[in-house]
């Protein structure tokens, strides 16, 4: 290469990127591109070092503005490796970075959300909550200290992604595909379970004939299939998104509008 197009990325830059991303994580969360702004914020400094040309820098960041959502703890590994990819191949790596990120975020979200947001708080919450009822803060203090430990662990995870993420990918080669497929299998199982447990819709209306009352939700819909409405809604939104006729923002406002109208007429209840 005749002219210098990028500066060397130091360990300090990587740490800084890790901490920047970890701070922002879900603090710019929106229903449209979800964690993408946080990714841009996190990587903006280190990518500026890699892409000296303004055009390349813009292209790279615009690429990171694409929808991104996974468990933030797991994202560190992905983003560390993404930085390494852009470091190696410059802006040419753009599509590979995007494919890598979108290929891994779903499977990792399925695994990560269960570990980080369900398992860990349930165990620590039961212990700390039980001790708390007796006025004892010990459980809460242990929980806090564990969080501090995990904080540093996550910084290391970003580092690991940066130093060996690519090596891992190259070494695994075709096997990475097997791994991604296996992770997708687990991820989809968990997402299938998320639909009835996270998306909630209830119809509070009941048919009344004389003294007999027939609640629609419990006596009709639940008899056909539990979580019928969430399943239908997921299918409809999935198809709307796939059709690309509406932007994500439009779909969000459609859902809110539907909720408000249904609430006004008492069709849906809390």
């Amino acid at each position: 290469m005749s002219e210098k197009t990028s500066d060397a990325v130091t360990k300090k830059d990587v740490r800084k990127a890790a901490i920047r991303y970890m701070f922002m994580a879900c603090n710019t969360f929106n229903y449209e591109n979800q964690q993408a702004p946080a990714v841009v914020y996190g990587l903006s400094k280190v990518l500026r070092k890699i892409h000296k040309k303004d055009e390349d820098y813009k292209a790279s960041l615009n690429n990171h503005f694409n929808y991104f959502n996974t468990t933030t703890w797991m994202a560190n590994l992905l983003l560390g490796a993404s930085v390494a990819m852009e470091e190696k191949d410059g802006i040419k790596s753009k599509d590979a970075v995007q494919a890598f990120k979108t290929g891994m975020m779903g499977p990792l979200a399925g695994i990560g959300d269960t570990l980080v947001w369900v398992l860990y708080p349930t165990i620590m919450g039961s212990i700390a909550g039980y001790m708390g009822l007796q006025g004892n803060p010990t459980g809460a203090i242990i929980w806090l200290l564990l969080n501090v430990f995990f904080f540093f662990f996550r910084v290391e995870l970003f580092d690991l992604g940066h130093t060996s993420g690519l090596k891992l990918i190259t070494a695994l080669g075709d096997k990475l595909n097997v791994f991604t497929e296996a992770a997708s299998i687990m991820g989809l199982t968990v997402i299938g379970a998320l639909i009835p447990s996270v998306v909630k819709m209830t119809i509070p209306i009941a048919f009344k004939t004389g003294k007999v009352s027939l609640p629609i939700q419990t006596e009709i819909l639940d008899k056909i299939m539990p979580a019928l409405l969430p399943a239908v809604l997921t299918f409809v939104v999935y198809k709307l998104l796939a059709s690309k006729k509406f932007s994500v923002t439009q779909i969000i406002f459609m859902v809110i509008g539907l909720a408000l109208v249904c609430s006004f007429f008492g069709i849906l209840g809390v």
């Binding site: 702004p37 841009v40 890598f100 968990v190 819709m201 709307l240 998104l241 408000l260």
Partner: protein, 269 residues
């Protein structure tokens, strides 16, 4: 002293949402928030009893996949503040904390939905600044995100610190019930957008079986999500071990990436 305590409580409210969504050290889980509030208010025992009550209520309430849940941390914080200010009897304090904390925590759902909606505009503004080449401006715009989220918890807390719980009840009374209910309903429907988006990027058609199994086991058998994750892991492990034997490890990373991209197009149609 009381003024300082009030300010610290509001600051903690501002910080806790940012930490929960970012560093995850103090979090907004009631037990830890209660412990810190106990230090601020100088009454650890009462604070921890209230926090423990809310913590056990909050078990199993996870805000995953972009869902909005009642903010039990906010409930704990406001509950502890008002309770310790108004009474010295522990049982009475618990009742006061529940009466004040629960409605404020519920208000947290609506404010969270609002924060996530507003952040769409933050993202748009930042990307616009980027494309105009105003990189410094872009960095500054991003800070509106944490500011918005911090205010979603700091504002209701500040109102409670200043006016007690009366104002929160007044707000909940003045705004029509169908509207607040509607926002709550929207809050429990909107995760569907995140789930559907995630599905766009995953091989849904290829592994529809897994999606259906997960759904059935959760909806019909009511198995907790952790059990379902283990089930998913079992399928994944089987697939992994079976296929690792077959696959020769000759292909390059480049091939793997393009494969992933091709798949992306496949179920995107």
């Amino acid at each position: 002293m009381e003024i300082i305590q009030g300010i610290l409580i509001i600051a903690l409210a501002f910080w806790m949402v940012l930490d929960q969504q970012g560093f995850v050290i103090t979090t907004w889980f009631p037990a830890i928030i209660g412990m810190i509030a106990g230090i601020i208010m100088g009454d650890m025992t009462t604070a921890m009893i209230i926090a423990g009550t809310f913590q056990l209520m909050a078990l199993g309430v996870a805000n995953i996949g972009g869902s909005s849940v009642p903010n039990y941390g906010l409930a704990t914080l406001v509950g502890i503040y008002v309770a310790i200010r108004t009474t010295h009897d522990v049982e009475h304090a618990k009742a006061v904390a529940l009466a004040v904390g629960v409605p404020v925590g519920m208000l947290g759902i609506q404010l969270d939905v609002l924060g996530k909606l507003l952040n769409s505009y933050v993202s748009h503004a930042a990307q616009k600044a980027l494309n105009l080449g105003k990189f410094k401006k872009m960095e500054r715009i991003f800070w509106l995100g944490p500011l918005i989220f911090g205010l979603t918890t700091a504002l209701p807390t500040a109102l409670c610190v200043l006016f007690g719980d009366k104002l929160v009840r007044l707000i909940l009374d003045v705004v029509p019930k169908w509207f607040t209910d509607g926002l709550s309903i929207a809050g429990s429907m909107l995760p569907v957008v995140g789930i559907a988006l995630l599905l766009q990027f995953m091989p849904v058609k290829k592994y529809l079986t897994m999606l259906l199994i997960g759904f059935v086991v959760s909806a019909y058998l009511k198995l907790p999500i952790l059990g379902i994750a283990i089930l998913g892991f079992a399928f994944a492990y089987y697939y992994f071990t079976q296929n690792m034997k077959k696959t020769p490890a000759a292909a390059t990373a480049g091939a793997a990436s393009t494969d992933a991209l091709d798949e992306g197009d496949d179920f995107d149609e």
